[in-house]
C-alpha cells in the first residue's frame, strides 16, 4: 500500500509531464528526421513523392544508403534547402532568381528528374468522344468569359459533337500546388489576357470557380457536378479513369495527355537549349507534333558546393543512379521519364557538383 501510494502520483505526474513534452514537440517543426541511420535527407514536391520514395526504397536495398524524403510541398522544400536543413530539395516549379539569391549555401543546381503532365478533366454526361479544347478557350473558361458548354467557341472546335447547354462550373485547386503552377504557366503562355489578369503561381486569385482541396477534391467535385471542368495531374486522371480533354499543341495537333506525349514535350525543347543551360526552363506549349502542351519537369535541387565531401559523394551517387536505373521506375508510377538523350546530358551536369568541401 505504502509503495503504491507513492508510485501512483509519480507515475501520474510522469505521464502528465510526458504529455506536455509530446505536445510541445509536435508543436515545433517536425522537419528534422528522426533516425540516426539516415544518410541523405530531402524535402519538397508532393507531386514527386511516390517516385522519390520508390527510388529511396530501391536505392537502400541496393546500396544500403538510406534516403529520407518528406513530401512537404515544393515551397517548403525550397525553404528547407535554402536554410540548409535538408541535403536536397525538390520542386515542381523552378526557383526564382530572388529565391536563389537567398539560399544560404551558395549556388543551387536544378536537376530535372521526371516529367509530369496536367490533364483537363470534365463532366459532360452526354458527350462520348474526348472533348477538344485550345489553350485560349481554356483560359476563357477559367476567366468566366465562356459560361455555357454549347458556346460557339467550344462548339467550333468540336464539329459533329452535340454539346449540352449546361452552365460551365470551373473547379480549381484551393491549396497551393505545383499542378496549379504548371496549369497557370500554360494559360499565361498562350493567353495574354490570362497573363495580365491572373498570371502564374502556386496559389492564384481565381476570377471564378470552386476550389477543391487536393487532386481528390478537384476530381470529386468534377465527378459529382454535371458541367464541371477541372485540372489534375496526368497520373491522377489515369489512375482514376477521368476523361481528359485533347489539347491543341503549338504545332496545331490535338494531343491527349499520355506519358509519351509528355516525354515528347521535353524531347522537343532539349535541342533548343544552350549547352550551359541551368534547366530552369518551362516546356509548356512546347514545339513538336506529338507534344502535350501542359507538361513540366520536376526538379531535385542541390547545392553546387557540398560542404561535407562524404555526404556530397553519396548525393551525387544517388542522383546518378536515379537518372540511370531510376528512370525505368517512372512509367509504372505514371510519371513520364526524361528522354534518354537528356538523361545523359543531365548526368554530365552532375560533374559540376563540387565535392572538395571548399567554400
Amino acid at each position: 500500500m505504502k509503495v503504491l501510494k507513492l508510485v501512483v502520483p509519480v507515475l501520474l505526474a510522469v505521464a502528465c509531464a510526458k504529455e506536455g513534452a509530446n505536445s510541445s514537440a509536435t508543436a515545433s517543426s517536425t522537419a528534422a528526421s528522426s533516425g540516426g541511420s539516415v544518410d541523405l535527407t530531402g524535402a519538397g514536391s508532393s507531386f514527386a513523392y511516390p517516385i522519390y520514395s520508390k527510388w529511396a526504397a530501391l536505392y537502400a536495398a541496393k546500396t544500403g544508403v538510406k534516403v529520407n524524403y518528406q513530401s512537404i510541398g515544393s515551397s517548403g522544400g525550397i525553404r528547407q534547402l535554402s536554410d540548409e536543413i535538408v541535403d536536397f530539395g525538390a520542386s515542381d516549379g523552378p526557383m526564382t532568381d530572388q529565391q536563389l539569391a537567398q539560399a544560404k549555401g551558395g549556388p543551387i543546381l536544378h536537376i530535372p528528374t521526371v516529367l509530369g503532365g496536367v490533364s483537363v478533366t470534365y463532366n459532360l454526361p452526354t458527350v462520348q468522344q474526348p472533348l477538344k479544347i485550345t489553350g485560349d478557350v481554356l483560359a476563357q473558361l477559367y476567366m468566366g468569359k465562356i459560361t455555357k458548354w454549347n458556346d460557339s467557341r467550344i462548339a467550333s472546335l468540336n464539329p459533329g459533337v452535340t454539346l449540352p447547354s449546361l452552365d460551365v462550373i470551373v473547379v480549381h485547386r484551393s491549396d497551393g500546388s505545383g499542378t496549379t503552377y504548371i496549369f497557370s504557366d500554360y494559360l499565361a503562355t498562350v493567353s495574354r489576357a490570362w497573363a495580365s489578369a491572373v498570371g502564374r503561381g502556386q496559389s492564384l486569385n481565381w476570377p471564378v470557380g470552386l476550389g477543391g482541396k487536393g487532386s481528390e477534391g478537384v476530381a470529386g467535385q468534377v465527378k459529382q457536378t454535371p458541367g464541371a471542368v477541372g485540372y489534375v495531374e496526368l497520373s491522377y486522371a489515369k489512375q482514376n479513369n477521368l476523361p481528359s480533354a485533347l489539347i491543341r499543341n503549338a504545332a496545331g495537333a490535338w494531343v491527349a495527355p499520355t506519358l509519351e506525349s509528355v516525354t515528347a514535350a521535353a524531347a522537343g525543347v532539349v535541342p533548343t537549349l544552350p549547352a550551359n543551360t541551368d534547366y530552369r526552363i518551362s516546356i509548356v506549349n512546347g514545339p513538336g507534333k506529338g507534344t502535350y502542351p501542359i507538361s513540366s519537369f520536376t526538379w531535385i535541387l542541390v547545392y553546387q558546393h557540398q560542404k561535407e565531401p562524404v555526404k556530397g559523394k553519396k548525393l551525387v551517387d544517388f542522383l546518378n543512379w536515379a537518372l540511370t536505373d531510376g528512370e525505368a521506375e517512372a512509367a509504372p508510377l505514371d510519371y513520364a521519364p526524361l528522354p534518354a538523350s537528356m538523361a545523359t546530358t543531365v548526368k554530365a551536369k552532375l560533374a559540376m557538383i563540387d565535392l572538395t568541401g571548399a567554400k
Binding site: C16, I72, S75, S177, L204, G209, L210
Partner: protein, 324 residues
C-alpha cells in the same frame, strides 16, 4: 485519507506514515502543479510564436488584413475578411442546426428513453466525435453535396420560395456555406449532446419529483424544473461545440468551395480562416505571404479567445441569476 490527531497520538508507526504521506503529498503537489502550469505555458508559447510570426504582416499591412477582402498572393494583397466572415457564418449555421437537435437527443436520453435504448443511442451519438474529419469531408463530397445540390437546395430555394430572400438565392453548385454548416453541425452535435445529457442526468431527482408533485406534466417538469437547473451546463456544451466548429479545418475545406468572397447566400461557396491557412501554408512562397497566413491564425486565435470568454461569462451570469 485524512488522519485525525487522535490516531497520530495513539501510534508512532502511524505518525511515521502520516509524515511519509505528507512528503508524498508535497511531491504530488509539485508534480501536478508542474503539469498544470505546463499547459498554460504551452498556450502562451503558441500565442507568442503566432504573433511574432504575424508581426511583419501586421506591420506592413495593418488592419487591412481584417478589413479588406482581396486575397491576391501575386499582387501582395492579403485581405482575409471573406475568411473571417465564412468562419463566423459557417459556425453560426452549424450551431443553429446542431443545438436543437443535440438538446433534443439529450432530453430524450435523460428523460424519456428506456434504459435499453439509452446506452446504444448515447454511444452512437458520442461515436460521431470519434470519426476523423477527413472522413466527414469525403462523406461531404460524395454524399452530402449531391444530396444538397439535387434535393435540399432546390427545395429551400424554389419549393419554399426562400430564393426570394438573399440568403438562399443564386445557383446551387453544391459546395457552399450551407454544406460547411451542415458538416460542422454534425461534428459539433456530439459535444453539445454529450455535455447536455450529463448535465441533465445530474439534475437531482427531488427537483423532478417536486415538479410532478405540483401537478406538472412531464413536458412542464422538463421545461420548468430540469432545463433551468441545467442551463449553464448546456450553454457550456454549446460553447464547446462552437469551439469545435470555429477551428475545424479539413472537413470544411473539402466542402465549402474555397472561394474568398462575401456572399449573403448560403448556397454560394465561401472560405474560412482555418481553410485558408491549411490550403496555402505549405506552398506559401514569399515571407509576406507566410506572415499574412500567420496573421490570419492570430485573428482566429483572438476570435476563439473572445468566444471562450463570452461562454464563461454566459455560464457565470446564468448561474448567478439562478442562485439569486
Amino acid at each position: 485519507m485524512t488522519s485525525l490527531p487522535v490516531d497520530w497520538l495513539e501510534n508512532d508507526r502511524r505518525k511515521l506514515r502520516v509524515d511519509a504521506s505528507a512528503y508524498g503529498d508535497k511531491i504530488y503537489e509539485a508534480l501536478t502543479a508542474a503539469c498544470a502550469l505546463a499547459i498554460p505555458a504551452l498556450v502562451i508559447a503558441i500565442a507568442v510564436a503566432i504573433f511574432a510570426a504575424a508581426w511583419p504582416a501586421f506591420a506592413k499591412l495593418g488592419f487591412s488584413i481584417v478589413t479588406t477582402s482581396d486575397w491576391d498572393v501575386r499582387a501582395g494583397h492579403f485581405g482575409a475578411a471573406p475568411a473571417i466572415f465564412g468562419t463566423l457564418v459557417s459556425s453560426t449555421v452549424a450551431l443553429i442546426i446542431a443545438t436543437p437537435l443535440a438538446i433534443g437527443v439529450a432530453i430524450f436520453l435523460s428523460e424519456f428513453a428506456p434504459l435499453w435504448l439509452r446506452q446504444p443511442i448515447g454511444f452512437l451519438v458520442d461515436l460521431l466525435a470519434a470519426i476523423p474529419s477527413v472522413v466527414y469531408g469525403l462523406w461531404g463530397i460524395f454524399v452530402l453535396i449531391p444530396l444538397l445540390r439535387e434535393h435540399v437546395m432546390p427545395f429551400l430555394r424554389d419549393t419554399l420560395h426562400l430564393g426570394a430572400t438573399p440568403f438562399f438565392s443564386g445557383p446551387a453548385y453544391g459546395p457552399s456555406m450551407l454544406a460547411a454548416g451542415v458538416i460542422l453541425a454534425i461534428m459539433a452535435l456530439p459535444y453539445i449532446s454529450s455535455v447536455s445529457r450529463e448535465v441533465l442526468m445530474a439534475v437531482p431527482r427531488s427537483q423532478r419529483e417536486a415538479a410532478l408533485a405540483l401537478g406538472a406534466t412531464r413536458w412542464e417538469m422538463i421545461r420548468d424544473a430540469v432545463i433551468p437547473y441545467a442551463r449553464s451546463g448546456i450553454i457550456g456544451g454549446i460553447m464547446l461545440g462552437l469551439g469545435r466548429a470555429l477551428g475545424e479545418t479539413m472537413a470544411v475545406t473539402m466542402v465549402i468551395g474555397n472561394r474568398p468572397e462575401i456572399s449573403a447566400s448560403l448556397l454560394a461557396p465561401g472560405y474560412t480562416m482555418a481553410s485558408l491557412i491549411a490550403n496555402e501554408f505549405s506552398e506559401a512562397t514569399s515571407d509576406l505571404h507566410l506572415s499574412a497566413l500567420m496573421a490570419v491564425g492570430a485573428v482566429l486565435f483572438i476570435i476563439t479567445l473572445i468566444v471562450n470568454a463570452v461562454a464563461r461569462w454566459l455560464v457565470w451570469s446564468v448561474g448567478r441569476r439562478r442562485t439569486q
